[in-house]
């Protein structure tokens, strides 16, 4: 187990370094931030001075080695745009996104598993058809569209919840609700498929021959066996949320890392882009390792 974790950590570290190198050079291809920071009327001299101050005049490889040198000391540099350390900006934003992703994925996991399992148990029946149909519709709608409709309906027309922002728990309802829909639709489908297989397995037959009740057959015998593919997809979806709840964060004014990332990309705030990618990538790698461990917990046959 330990050697497995070690190997995974090394592999992740290699990927991480590759990622940083790739992002560093690719992001520089998108142009010079100077014009974005200075007013359109700024003189050529002040532009030059800006480049000088921010080290943009050096050859790219010099900038790269300087960056990597700082990075080794865990210094991600200053955000040009926000005049604060890039890592601070990213970490505070990341905490928001992490919470958002955790809450959403917990809700998705629980509800999708229950609904998907029941659909699988009644496969082909009315409940199954309805559940499948609506979860698919949910998974098919563009999220920004759903978000704005939700604001118009639930906040403006009905006045049930605040339109946007943070502050109280009420503020979390709409963003979570909108983020919920797509992974929910997808995972219901995965759970359903996986559960259909599990429910037609031999051990479920044994359980029925033992006279075990339906509920434990579904949620004890079949579910745990059906969870492995489901967990993989849950992991992918959680990673997608960590990496890109951009749309929802933008609309609901949620200060998450997705919004920070898109703003920084559009503003060519490279240090923040790199720090954001670093932090989310680390989070995703850690999550993938956790998922591998979870595999082993769920299925005693898997040993690393």
């Amino acid at each position: 187990m330990n050697s497995f974790l070690g190997k995974r950590a090394i592999a992740s570290a290699i990927s991480l370094v590759g990622l940083i190198i790739l992002v560093f050079f690719l992001s520089r291809l998108t142009g010079d931030p100077t014009d974005l920071y200075l007013p359109v009327d700024a003189s050529l001299e002040s532009r030059e001075r800006f480049r000088e101050i921010n080290g943009l005049n050096d050859p790219l490889y010099v900038q790269f080695f300087r960056y990597m040198g700082d990075l080794v000391q865990f210094d991600f540099g200053m955000s040009i745009r926000r005049a604060e350390p890039a890592l601070d900006a990213v970490l505070s934003a990341f905490m928001w996104t992490l919470q958002l992703a955790l809450i959403t994925m917990s809700l998705v996991t629980v509800s999708a598993i229950v609904l998907g399992s029941l659909a699988a148990f009644h496969v082909g029946g009315f409940f199954d058809r309805i559940a499948t149909f609506f979860s698919l519709i949910g998974a098919s709608a563009p999220d920004f569209w759903v978000a704005i409709v939700a604001i118009v309906v639930f906040s403006v027309t009905l006045g049930w919840v605040p339109t946007s922002g943070t502050g109280t728990l009420w503020h979390w309802i709409l963003p979570i609700g909108v983020l919920f829909i797509r992974p929910f639709g997808l995972i219901v489908q995965i759970v359903r498929g996986s559960m259909i297989t599990a429910l037609s397995s031999a051990y479920v037959k044994t359980a029925r021959a033992k006279g075990v009740k339906n509920r434990p057959i579904i949620f004890v015998h079949a579910l745990r066996n059906a969870m492995l593919p489901v967990i993989t997809v849950i992991g992918d979806q959680a990673a997608a949320l960590l990496n890109g709840a951009v749309v929802v964060e933008t609309i609901f004014g949620f200060p998450g890392v997705g919004k920070l990332m898109i703003d920084s990309i559009l503003q060519r705030d490279f240090t923040v882009v790199l720090a954001a990618i670093f932090v989310t990538a680390v989070a995703i790698f850690v999550m993938n390792i956790l998922i591998d461990i979870l595999y082993a917990v769920l299925d005693p046959r898997i040993r690393y």
Binding site: S12, I14, L19, F144
Partner: protein, 304 residues
């Protein structure tokens, strides 16, 4: 009679007839297939027939409401912010939309599958390199990629395909690799080895055809995903740009009018939802149709 061995099962009717029959059994999937066929027709013939109508603007008749049947039929779904007929625009936009999605899915499927086959059936070292590459791509934010590509190149359909294709590679890569690892242990692969079959023959003749249905199922789902991703990019302003049109761009452009002229973003949104829904339904059907254990559900008339 078992002693004389069971007679050979009679020849099945040609494949396409039995597929059509199975499709007919699942009414949802049947409607989905019809709808998709219609969309494909729109995509192929739409631009040639309606290009002129779809770009004819009428500023003073902007945002004209839908269901005004006294207007020509292209206006039945209303007009957009420049007074252009929505129905005509949706039909014309089908081409770009489907081209982006198809292009991205096919490119990522070919690339991802090839890499996955190599990773699954070659040296450990190559496999490690490819898997690390997959990690890097997966944690590389698609937004940044979009900005990079669209900054360096123009925001054309082709480049959008490149962006979306790259981001979807890991899905196919990981799936095909996992499947290859499983399939290569099957006995018919050993049988081919015993006959002296080359690696290339084993991969392309024996493994790929077995893995292929799984990949096609994923591709169908991914098609929907890519369409939604494309619309999200449009929302963030880094997708395709006018005067090109896609459904995603139309939804995005209509979004400011959600409260005043809902039809601007509703119809293209509906087109996206229906198309992705159809794809999802079809993918569900395919999963059943391709699974010999589940296929009977489509072969027999429903009892209840």
């Amino acid at each position: 009679m078992a002693l004389t061995e069971q007679p050979v099962i009679p020849d099945a009717p040609p494949a396409w007839i039995s597929i059509l029959k199975m499709l007919w059994r699942d009414k949802f999937a049947f409607c989905a297939a019809l709808f998709l066929l219609l969309m494909i027709l729109c995509a192929v013939f739409g631009p040639a027939l309606l290009e002129g109508v779809a770009t004819k603007q009428n500023l003073r008749g902007r945002n004209s409401p839908p269901f005004d049947f006294s207007q020509p039929w292209v206006m039945w779904l209303g007009g957009d912010a420049l007074g252009r007929p929505l129905l005509a625009r949706i039909i014309v936009a089908a081409q770009n939309t489907l081209m982006v999605a198809t292009g991205a899915v096919i490119c990522s499927m070919i690339l991802g599958t090839t890499l996955g086959l190599i990773a699954g059936y070659s040296s450990k070292w190559a496999s490690q390199v490819i898997m690390r590459l997959a990690d890097v791509i997966m944690s590389f934010p698609s937004l940044l990629l979009a900005v990079i590509v669209l900054y360096m190149l123009a925001p054309s359909v082709g480049n959008l395909i490149v962006v979306l294709a790259i981001t979807r590679i890991p899905v196919y890569l990981r799936t095909s690799r996992a499947e290859v690892l499983e399939v290569r242990e099957r006995m018919f692969v050993q049988a081919a080895q015993v006959m002296g079959a080359s690696t290339r023959r084993i991969v392309f003749r024996h493994i790929l055809p077995v893995v292929f249905p799984t990949l096609v199922t994923i591709a169908t789902l991914d098609f929907a995903f890519v369409m939604l991703a494309e619309s999200s990019l449009s929302f963030l302003g880094i997708g395709i740009q006018p005067p090109e049109i896609t459904w995603g761009l139309m939804v995005s452009q209509g979004r400011p009018y959600l409260t005043t002229a809902w039809w601007l973003s509703f119809w293209p949104g509906l087109a996206i939802i229906l198309t992705t829904l159809s794809l999802n339904l079809l993918s569900n059907w395919m999963r059943t149709a391709l699974d010999p254990v589940q296929r009977w559900r489509l072969d027999t008339p429903r009892k209840k």
